[in-house]
Amino acid sequence: MEIAQTALQSIGMSSKDPWGRPPIHLPEYALAVSLIFTKATNQTIILNTPPEHVLSTSILWSSLAHDKRFEQVPMNEAAPGDIIIGSGWQQGADGYAGIIVGHGRIVSNSSGGVQDNSSLSEIQRSHPAMAAFRYVGFWNYYRSKPFANTGFDPNEPRLPAGQPGGGQWTKMEMAPSTAILSGGNRWTDPAAAAPAKVDDRNKQAQRDNSQQTTKPAVTEAEELKTLWAPVVDSINAEAQHPTRAQLERFGKAFDALQKYLVDHGMTPEEAFEAVYGAVHSLTQPGSGPNPGSEGVLGTYLGKSAGADIAQIFATVIIGRSSTPDKSSNSQPTALKPYSEDGGHHIPAKKAFEDDPAYNPNDALAIPNAELESLGLRHSKITGAQKTLYSAYAKQGKPLTWDAVESIETRALIKSGLDPGRAAATVRETIKALIASGVKVPTRIPWGGK
């Protein structure tokens, strides 16, 4: 109930657009939810994005739908602490976000700040397309994993060494533990939420490339060891029946380590899998960092399991962070007026060409050199923009700043840019457009005349 209680305690809090953009016509619903969530959990609601940067309900929806800390629940099962979102993307300008606090009431933003200002039934009537997301914390990751298993059988056969998955247990389905959620919401029985499947060979190739060109730095390794230690400690303490405090400690340690990896260039998914892989190996006897074994960690990172965990992480990190463009994921990419180095207009210039204040040569673009450095390709960004704008046009609604922000951010993410950087980049360019006198988008690109 921590999220619901924090929401109630936040009534009256101001949550204005920190970017000083002129109000469009709706309160910053996503921002209020973001600030309350962080206050309640000490985590960011969108990974790697500062709480005050969460301004789009559609991006929030998209993020929670892919974030393993959350699970989507049917609206008729929504409970106190759940986050409800009506996406601006799906509903044109009418995006909405709030937190259920009990008795069917919702705390959300308003023109006068955070208020207990509506009921769930009212919101559902006015916003038929809504989703409810429940914060289930890190433990949701591990319910079906070996170290969360109360029925752990040390005599269970394992795959022989030297073959794919060698050293792993032969059966992976585990009995659920008596989990206590770190987030405080009531427990439901979610489907096993395994991490998204990745092409291990592909990832391996990337890591091999990183490892061939760089050497780990001692300072990085020391930092990682410092972050890793509490993860190990909390795992050791959890045993079979972890207390809530133990789980929270584990969650925070895991979070800190994952954030560190993301800050150094991994995607959230890669960071999660890296940390999870390490945790997994640690909790399987005979695998992981124990010398001489072939554990999941070794398989995952392409090193012998005897290698030091921090060194392995550091190798990966240094490899990634040697690419300057990924050094800080919440910062925008380099941006220049299009006239200076060409590149790719963000947002699409066709959305503004009818506005006399808009000059495509002065408008900001990701310059060619930056595109090259980031591994972004003009063709794919354009393809993603076209796909999203065309879909939006079919709704028959005018194009809003909120929709532009959502579409452009998603297009950059789809093209391979880190989500935090994508959001920051789009926000920066929109801010510049507004500062240059552009009032509103004048047409929907690829939406017909």
Partner: protein, 128 residues
């Protein structure tokens, strides 16, 4: 090539289409790129064990990139081209294409999906 216009066209075509496409495809070889094509190529290099298998993945992506850059050069007004339809009607590709031809080609359900009889990949089918 007795007049000066053809060399001018040739120069623009090479610079704006050929060279840009080569640089763009080179970017897909960046091991840190998360571009859908870059990922597909890396996967092909891992999964396919012969040149033919890898080339079959690369060829349509390279062709699409070249066509995209041709259309982009038209959209941006660098290559001012007209098209004569079977009806005899002539159109200005930039003006009548609203400067959006490249997007119409590359986006989900784009021209390859509509008209091509050869293999193609829709990298945006999960959007929106």
């Amino acid at each position: 090539m007795s007049n000066s216009e053809i060399p001018e066209f040739a120069k623009l075509l090479v610079e704006r289409v050929r060279d840009v496409s080569i640089r763009s495809c080179d970017q897909a070889l960046n091991p840190n790129s998360n571009d859908p094509v870059a990922k597909r190529w890396r996967q092909a290099a891992q999964v396919q064990n012969d040149l033919k298998g890898i080339a079959r993945v690369l060829i349509p992506d390279v062709v699409d990139d070249v066509i995209f850059n041709l259309l982009d050069a038209i959209d941006d007004g660098h290559l001012k081209l007209t098209f004569t339809a079977s009806s005899g009607k002539q159109i200005d590709l930039k003006k009548d294409g609203l400067g959006e031809l490249a997007g119409w080609y590359m986006g989900s359900g784009g021209w390859p999906a509509m008209y091509s009889k050869e293999r193609s990949t829709d990298d945006f089918s999960d959007l929106p």
